[in-house]
Symmetry: D2
Subunit: 148 residues, 4 copies
């Protein structure tokens, strides 16, 4: 199996970096919390907020997409270090169950961490449950020489 290097940034370093380069992510509130980072992975919490609600009282699809996108970015940053210009090139999301009106947890697994492309999958669950509410895969393009 490919040898995977240790992450280059800790949870707190990633959080500080995102607050610095991407303050809109939290929109002045505490919308997203990085719970942990690990080799090729991360766990992110989306704190329940009225702005995430859609008709019927559940978390909206775009809110879950936002969670998946941020979670991927966190896992990539943790793994390879500061990459300000990583951009999502494509994403696919399946909505599987009605989410509970509570926090959501995203578990990211990076499936590939190449020099030009990073690909990962994100499982999203309502906090306190193991049932997968939504599943996403996403590809990020990395700027040249981002990964050393």
């Amino acid at each position: 199996m490919d040898t995977i290097p240790a992450p280059k940034m800790t949870r707190d370093e990633v959080a500080a970096y995102i607050d610095e380069v991407f303050p809109q992510a939290n929109a002045g509130e505490k919308l997203f919390t990085i719970e942990s980072v690990r080799i090729n992975g991360a766990r992110i919490r989306m704190n329940y907020n009225d702005r995430f609600i859609r008709p019927g009282g559940t978390i909206s699809g775009p809110a879950m997409f936002t969670l998946a996108d941020i979670a991927m970015y966190v896992a990539i940053l943790a793994q390879v270090g500061r990459v300000p210009l990583a951009v999502t090139t494509s994403a696919n999301i399946n909505f599987l169950r009605r989410p509970a009106p509570t926090d959501m947890i995203a578990e990211v697994n990076l499936l590939k961490m190449g020099r030009r492309l990073a690909v990962g999958e994100v499982n999203m669950m309502s906090a306190g449950s193991d049932d997968i509410v939504a599943h996403a895969t996403a590809t990020y393009a990395l700027p040249p020489n981002a990964v050393k």
Copy 2:
């Protein structure tokens, strides 16, 4: 070719219905404007707003996903009438070019308008340009008996 019935709702009827059942879509501001509806299609404008910005000053991926999702919902509503419980089951999005810091336009084409599933594609352009900035496909599940 399949015969496609005329839309069941006008642009203004769809706009009023969304304001009624989904006031969060506009979050108290005028974020999205329905420009037109047509047979199996619609054109939606996402008005430029700071909340859509990501690092680098461009429109964020999640903002474009939100636009695509709302645009699909508008086209389905217009075509089949009031369907409060339509839910997105899956979506795929490709980000192709850096969007300009301005309004974005979404053009939806419904590829299939079945009794249980609606599938469409959405081309997104910066206002005033024909270059496609992002392209999405999405599937909505319709409640039983939604389409008569």
Copy 3:
């Protein structure tokens, strides 16, 4: 967590059923082998065959898509029993690494086994390696009353 019922068919029952209703899957040769079925999952082998090769000597993308599609069908059949008319409605696949010129293994996990839709993910590896070469998600529509 949702309680998941035991599979309704064994590995040998699924294999016999597919040979009966879908003899083209193996095209007169032994292209695909069901290695095992389990609750909401299955493991399938695609036996190395010249017809799967693409320029450069590796397994082609369409061959991997075929493997993912058959693997999903096997997992659904095993879980819910004979469903002759299940059809794929959408699929997404990411090609991550160059596959070795050898057998490929597909591991399916059903993420949702609903009454109308089944959604699963498929990890594909070259035989003898744990590195994921391709990752797919797919949705199957089930005929009414298929799942009891």
Copy 4:
């Protein structure tokens, strides 16, 4: 709008090149025919063949995926010239209607033809019909310096 250069290869040049580098595409029969190439697009025919059939007598999903993948490769080759090492990195496909038991036509539109990535969409119809049977999007990675 971006200025798009003229295609670098004609229909016959692309066909000869594919026969040379990828003889497996046609598997000793005449499975795929390039009908035309144009700026950022192409039209491909998949000739009806028993090997494409699935239970119920229709064209299989993997056969349509193969058609989409080859169609994308043809459009890229035509546009940028000989690129032997272009590889599909991801693809998404929606199956919309039951195909007729006849030839299928794929119309490709390249949405982006960048230096590192090409993204396109493919509409697939049964020959003689305008109804879209399947719709795919796919991304190809291009080797460095492939596009001059």
